[in-house]
Symmetry: C2
Subunit: 421 residues, 2 copies
C-alpha cells in the first residue's frame, strides 16, 4: 500500500462546510487504496486575524512569540479536519509539529526543515489511521518555529520525502499550474506537466501557486508533486516532475508577471574598484535583498557607471532610510526610484541550448512597442523589466509568440511509475 | 527572590486592551521584587467559539481531538500576553504544556496533573524573564490533554507547588471570595481569609470562584492562594490558607446556593438487602453522579422505603433514558422528579465541635416559613434542599442569622510568613 501526502490550503478550509468537503477528498484518496497523510494550513483568514491581534498589543512583536501565536491556526484546522473525517467513519488523528517531530533550524518566522521523524507517522499508518499534520510549523530547541507564508507546501513535500510517499498533492483553488495568469490571458490553460526547474523559476517570479522551497525540496528528492483543485476532485491538475521524465518539452512553458518590485537607478557612480561592493554590502547589511542588477559600462566621457537594481516594494521604505548614507558613501547627488515597473519572465527547460528564445522575446516585445528597461537571464528563465502599464500587453504578446494561449498540452507519457499517476 | 504564580481568567483577557491591563498587573508584581510565572486561560469566548466549530463538523467529536482543538485558545492568549509584556520593556516568554512538561494522566477532557518539570521554568526565571504558561492543559504519552473547565486554576496551583512559590494569586472579575452571592445579598462582603477546607466546600456547592481541584491541591501542599480582582490591583482580595493559620474562625464563613441539581424520589422500594445497591450501581455504571442521598426508615405498614437523591440537571435526560430499567429492577410504578429545587449550604471550619449550628440553620429556615426537603452534612458543611422559589430568601435569612451580611471581617493576623502577604 502506497502513501499519498496531500496539502490543503486555507481557502479550502475556510469554514466548516469546506472542511467537510476536504474530509471527503481525503477519504476518497484513502478509498483509492492509499495510506493518506494530509497537511493543513490555517482556516481562511485566521492568520491575518492573529497578526491583527498581535499588532494591537505590540508594535514590534518578537518573532518567537509570533510563531507561538500563528502556529495555533493550523492546530485548529487539523483537529477539526480529523473530527470531520472520524464523523464520516474513518479513523483519523491530528498531529502538530512536536508530536510528529518536525525539526527545523533555530530560526523564527522563516525556518527550514532539517529533519522529520517517522516513527509516530508509521505507527498510526499501520493502525489504518488517516493522519492530519499541521503545516507551516516545526520545532527547534523546544520552541515552535514557522516556515514563512506558504510554508505548508514545504511541510507537505518534506513529509512526503520522509515517509517515502508515492507523490505529494497540493490542493488549491485553481486547477493546476497555468501557462500564464488566466486573469490576463483568459484562454491560458493548466499544464498537464511541468519540470521542477520550471516550476521553481515560476514560483519565484510571481506565479503564487507554490512555495518555492517546496519545489526545491521536491526536485532534490525527486518527489512527484501534483497541483490540483480541491473543488474538482476528478481533475488531476498539473504534475511536477524531473525534466528527464518529461516526454515533450516546449521551449517556453510559462509566462509570469511580478508587480512586487521597484527599480532603483544610481547614476554617475565613479568607476573605481570597490564602489559596487560598498553599495551592495550596505544593502545586504540592512537585509535588503536585491533581485536584478545591471551595471552599465563606464562611459569614456566622465569615467562613471550607472547601476540599476530592483528591490521588493515592501522594502522601499527601509531602503529610503539608507538613501542619504548611500549618497554620501558613493559621492552621489541623485538616486532615482521607479515604482511603476513589472518584471515579465518566460520560463522553460526547453530553452537550454536552443538559440533564439531571448531574441524572440525581445523582438516580440519590440513589435508591440514595449520598451525593455532591464534584462536578466538564468539557464531556463529570461526576465525583462517593463513599464507596469505595458505589462499585460507583454504577457499576452509573449503567450501568443510562444504559443502558450489556448495551448493543447501534450498528454503525460514517458517513464513515470504508474502509482504516481 | 521569591516566586509568585498568578492566574488570569478569560474575562480578564477578553481583548487586546484587557491583555495590556493584565500585562501591567504582571509587571507590577515583578517590580515588587518577585519572580513571576503567569498562567492564562483562553481569551473571552474563544473556547465557546471553538466548541461551536467542532459541533459544526461532528456530532460526537472525539475527546482527543477536542483537547487538541481547545488547547490552542490558551496558546493564543499566552503569546499575546508575552508580546504585551515585552512591548512594555520586560523580557517575557510564553510556554505551552509540552514546553514546560506538564504531565497528566492519559485522560482527555478532564485529566489530572501528575508531574510538572521545573528545569525550563527555573532557567527562564534565572534569565530574569517573566514566564507565561498556557493553563488548562497538559500532555500524556505525546498527546495534548485538558483539565476540564476552570482547570487553569489547578494549573496555577500545581505550577506554584512545583516551583515552590510563595503564593498563588487567582485574578478574577470579582474582589475575592464573598460570604454569599452579592447578587442575592447585596451587602455581602469579600472575606479577608478563608480556610482551604471551607473554600473547597464552597467551590463544590456553587460558589463558582475556583476550580475545586485547585483548592484540593493547594490544601495538600499548603500553598497559600489569593483570590483577587484583576481590575482593582491594590485590593488584596481573599487569602486562602490552612485553618491552623487562621486567627479567628467564625462558625460559618459562607452561604452558597446551587441551582444545578434536580431531586429524584423513588417511593415504595421493597425493604430488602441489595435494593439500594442495585439502584446506585445502575446509576454509577451509567456515569450518573449522585450528590445527596436520603433513605427513609422502612414503614411498618407495608415494609417499603422511600429513596431520594439529587443528580446534576445536565444529566437528567440521561437519567430518564434509564427510568424504565430502574422501575423494572426495583418493581416500582413511579419515579418522581422535582426540578424546582435549590441546595443551600452553610460552610465553616468553626462549626466543628460547636453544637447548635445545624439547629440554628433549621430554625432560621423554619422561622422564614421555608420547608426543608433534604438535609446532608459533612464536618464543615450543612446543606438543605429547598424549593427554588424559597432559595433567595433562605440565603438572606442564613446570612442574617450567621452574621455574614455587612460582615466586618477580622484582619489577617497570626503566624503567616511575611512574604505571603
Amino acid at each position: 500500500m502506497g502513501i499519498v501526502v496531500q496539502k490543503f490550503g486555507g481557502t479550502s478550509l475556510a469554514d466548516s462546510e469546506k472542511i467537510k468537503n476536504v474530509a471527503r477528498a481525503v477519504i476518497k484518496e484513502k478509498e483509492n487504496g492509499n495510506n493518506v497523510i494530509t497537511i493543513v494550513s490555517a482556516m481562511g483568514h485566521t492568520t491575518d486575524f492573529l497578526i491583527k491581534l498581535s499588532e494591537e498589543v505590540s508594535n514590534v512583536p518578537s518573532a518567537r512569540e509570533m510563531d507561538m501565536l500563528l502556529s495555533t491556526g493550523e492546530q485548529v484546522s487539523a483537529s477539526l479536519l480529523a473530527m470531520a473525517i472520524e464523523e464520516m467513519g474513518h479513523p483519523a488523528i491530528s498531529l502538530n509539529a512536536w508530536q510528529v517531530g518536525i525539526e527545523t533550524e533555530p530560526e523564527y518566522s522563516n525556518a527550514r526543515i532539517i529533519d522529520i521523524k517517522t516513527e509516530r507517522l508509521n505507527k498510526h499508518l499501520e493502525e489504518g489511521k488517516i493522519i492530519i499534520i499541521t503545516g507551516f510549523q516545526g520545532i527547534a530547541n523546544g520552541d515552535i518555529t514557522t516556515l514563512g507564508r506558504g510554508g505548508s507546501d514545504t511541510s507537505a513535500v518534506a513529509v512526503a520525502v520522509a515517509v517515502k510517499a508515492n507523490r505529494c498533492d497540493i490542493y488549491t483553488d485553481v486547477e493546476g499550474v497555468y501557462t500564464s495568469d488566466p486573469r490576463i490571458v483568459p484562454n491560458a490553460l493548466p499544464l498537464k506537466e511541468i519540470s521542477y526547474e520550471e516550476m521553481f523559476e515560476l514560483a519565484h517570479v510571481g506565479a503564487n501557486v507554490l512555495h518555492p522551497r517546496s519545489v526545491e525540496t521536491a526536485r532534490e528528492f525527486e518527489m512527484p508533486m501534483r497541483v490540483r483543485s480541491s473543488f474538482k476532485l476528478d481533475n488531476l491538475g498539473t504534475l511536477i516532475i524531473g525534466v528527464d521524465k518529461m516526454e515533450v518539452t516546449k521551449p517556453v512553458t510559462g509566462v509570469a508577471r511580478d508587480n512586487s518590485q521597484v527599480r532603483v537607478v544610481i547614476c554617475d557612480v565613479e568607476d573605481k574598484p570597490g564602489n559596487a561592493s560598498k553599495l551592495f554590502n550596505l544593502l545586504a547589511a540592512n537585509n535588503l535583498s536585491v533581485d536584478m542588477i545591471i551595471q552599465s559600462y563606464a562611459r569614456s566621457s566622465n569615467n562613471t557607471n550607472d547601476i540599476a537594481f530592483t528591490i521588493a516594494s515592501e522594502n522601499l521604505n527601509r531602503f529610503k532610510a539608507h538613501e542619504e548614507e548611500i549618497k554620501s558613501i558613493l559621492n552621489l547627488s541623485n538616486i532615482f526610484i521607479d515604482e511603476n515597473i513589472s518584471k515579465i519572465s518566460i520560463v522553460g527547460s526547453g530553452m537550454i541550448d536552443r538559440p533564439g528564445i531571448a531574441a524572440g522575446m525581445f523582438q516580440s516585445l519590440a513589435k508591440a512597442g514595449i520598451n525593455i528597461k532591464m534584462i536578466a537571464t538564468s539557464e531556463i528563465k529570461i526576465s525583462c523589466l517593463v513599464d507596469r502599464e505595458d505589462s499585460e500587453k507583454a504577457v499576452v504578446e509573449l503567450c501568443r509568440h510562444f504559443e502558450l494561449d489556448g495551448l493543447e498540452v501534450a498528454e503525460v507519457r514517458g517513464n513515470l511509475p504508474s502509482d504516481v499517476l
